[in-house]
C-alpha cells in the first residue's frame, strides 16, 4: 500500500483549492495594500504586512472553506498593522532618549506629489482626485484605530457587519458603533472640503 500518493479525486480538490486561493489573493491584494498603506503611510511596510498576511492565511487557513478567508485575511492584516504600529511607537519612545537620534527618513510622511500621475490631458482632474484622496487618508489616520478599521473594512472592502465583526474580533454592535463614529468624524472633517 502506498501512503504518499493521494487519490486523483483528492489531487483535483487540492488543485481547485489552490486556484481558488490564488483568485482570492489576486482579488484582495491591491485593496489590502492600499488599506495597509493608509494606516502605515509607508509603502514598503504595507507590502511587508500584506505579504505576511498572505503567507499566514495560505499556511494556516487554506484548508478552511473559502467563505471564511476574507474575514480571516483581514484579521491577520489588521493584527500585522497594529503590531507594526506598536513597534514603531516603542522605537520612537526609545529614540527620544538617544542624544544623536534623528528622524528616520523612511518614516517621513509621503510627499503627496509622489502620487500625482504624470501631466496629461486630465492632469487637473487627477490632481484634484489625488488631493481629495490625500485629505481622506489624513482624516482616516486621525481616527482611532478601531474606527478606521471598521470604516475601511465596511466601506472600502465591502464586508458586511458580521464579517467585519469577525475580522475585527469584536461584536457586531461594536462594529456598528465604530463605523457610525468614524462616519461622523469624517463628515465633520471632510464635510466642508468635499461640498
Amino acid at each position: 500500500m502506498v501512503w504518499d500518493s493521494p487519490a486523483p479525486a483528492r489531487e483535483d480538490a487540492v488543485l481547485d483549492q489552490t486556484r481558488e486561493l490564488e483568485k482570492f489573493l489576486a482579488e484582495v491584494e491591491r485593496r489590502a495594500f492600499r488599506m495597509a498603506q493608509i494606516a502605515l503611510r509607508d509603502p514598503d511596510d504595507a507590502l511587508d504586512v500584506v505579504q505576511d498576511a498572505m503567507l499566514k492565511l495560505a499556511r494556516n487557513y487554506s484548508a478552511k472553506p473559502s467563505a471564511e478567508w476574507r474575514p480571516l485575511f483581514y484579521r491577520i492584516l489588521e493584527n500585522g498593522i497594529r503590531d507594526l504600529q506598536r513597534r514603531r511607537s516603542v522605537r520612537k519612545r526609545f529614540m527620544v532618549w538617544l542624544p544623536s537620534a534623528k528622524e528616520d527618513p523612511d518614516n517621513e510622511a509621503q510627499d503627496p506629489l509622489d502620487n500625482v500621475a504624470a501631466a496629461g490631458p486630465d492632469a487637473p482632474e487627477i490632481l484634484m482626485q489625488s488631493q481629495a484622496m490625500e485629505q481622506l487618508e489624513t482624516s482616516l489616520r486621525g481616527l482611532p484605530a478601531r474606527q478606521r478599521e471598521a470604516f475601511m473594512l465596511r466601506n472600502f472592502e465591502g464586508l458586511d457587519v458580521a464579517e467585519t465583526a469577525k475580522a475585527m474580533g469584536c461584536s457586531e454592535g461594536s462594529v456598528k458603533t465604530h463605523y457610525s463614529r468614524a462616519v461622523h468624524s469624517l463628515r465633520e472633517q471632510l464635510g466642508e472640503v468635499w461640498q
Binding site: L25, V50, Q51, L55, A58, R59, N60, A117, M133, V183
Partner: protein, 134 residues
C-alpha cells in the same frame, strides 16, 4: 447629519479609494504578485507535509507537555512535595554527617593541634629574639 450626506461621503470615499487601488504602480503590483506566488507555494508545501509533522498538530501537544513538566517540577520543588529524608534515601550523606559529628568525641585532637601551635610560636619568638648572654 442627514442620511443623504452620509451616503455621499461613503460613496465618494469608496470611489476615491477604488481609483487609488487602480492606480497602484507597477513596482507594487509586481511585488504583490511575487508575494501571492510565495503564499501559494507555502500553502502547497503545508499540504504536502504529512499531517503528523504539521505545527498545528504539535503546538497544542507541546504546550500541554510543557505545562505537565512544569507542574511536576513545581510539585517536587514545593514544600508539599518534600518528605522527611531517611538513612535509606542516601547512605553516603549520613556517613558524612557521622564524620562531622565525630568531632565531639575527638575534640581533644583539636586541642593538641592548638598546643603544637603554641610551642611553635614560642620557639619562633625565642629564635627571633635571642636572649643576651649573661
Amino acid at each position: 447629519m442627514n442620511e443623504q450626506s452620509r451616503d455621499g461621503l461613503e460613496e465618494r470615499s469608496r470611489t476615491l479609494f477604488k481609483d487609488s487601488v487602480d492606480n497602484v504602480d507597477m513596482r507594487v503590483r509586481s511585488r504583490l504578485t511575487q508575494a501571492r506566488h510565495a503564499a501559494l507555494e507555502a500553502a502547497s508545501a503545508s499540504r504536502r507535509r504529512p499531517w503528523l509533522l504539521r505545527a498545528s498538530i504539535w503546538t497544542p501537544a507541546a504546550g500541554v507537555t510543557a505545562a505537565a513538566v512544569l507542574g511536576v517540577a513545581l510539585w517536587f520543588g514545593s514544600p508539599l512535595g518534600h518528605h522527611v529524608m531517611t538513612a535509606s534515601d542516601n547512605p553516603t550523606a549520613f556517613e558524612d554527617l557521622d564524620i562531622v559529628a565525630s568531632s565531639d568525641d575527638g575534640s581533644g585532637d583539636a586541642m593538641d593541634m592548638l598546643q603544637d601551635d603554641v610551642d611553635f610560636y614560642d620557639w619562633a619568638n625565642k629564635a627571633g629574639n635571642p636572649e643576651p648572654a649573661a
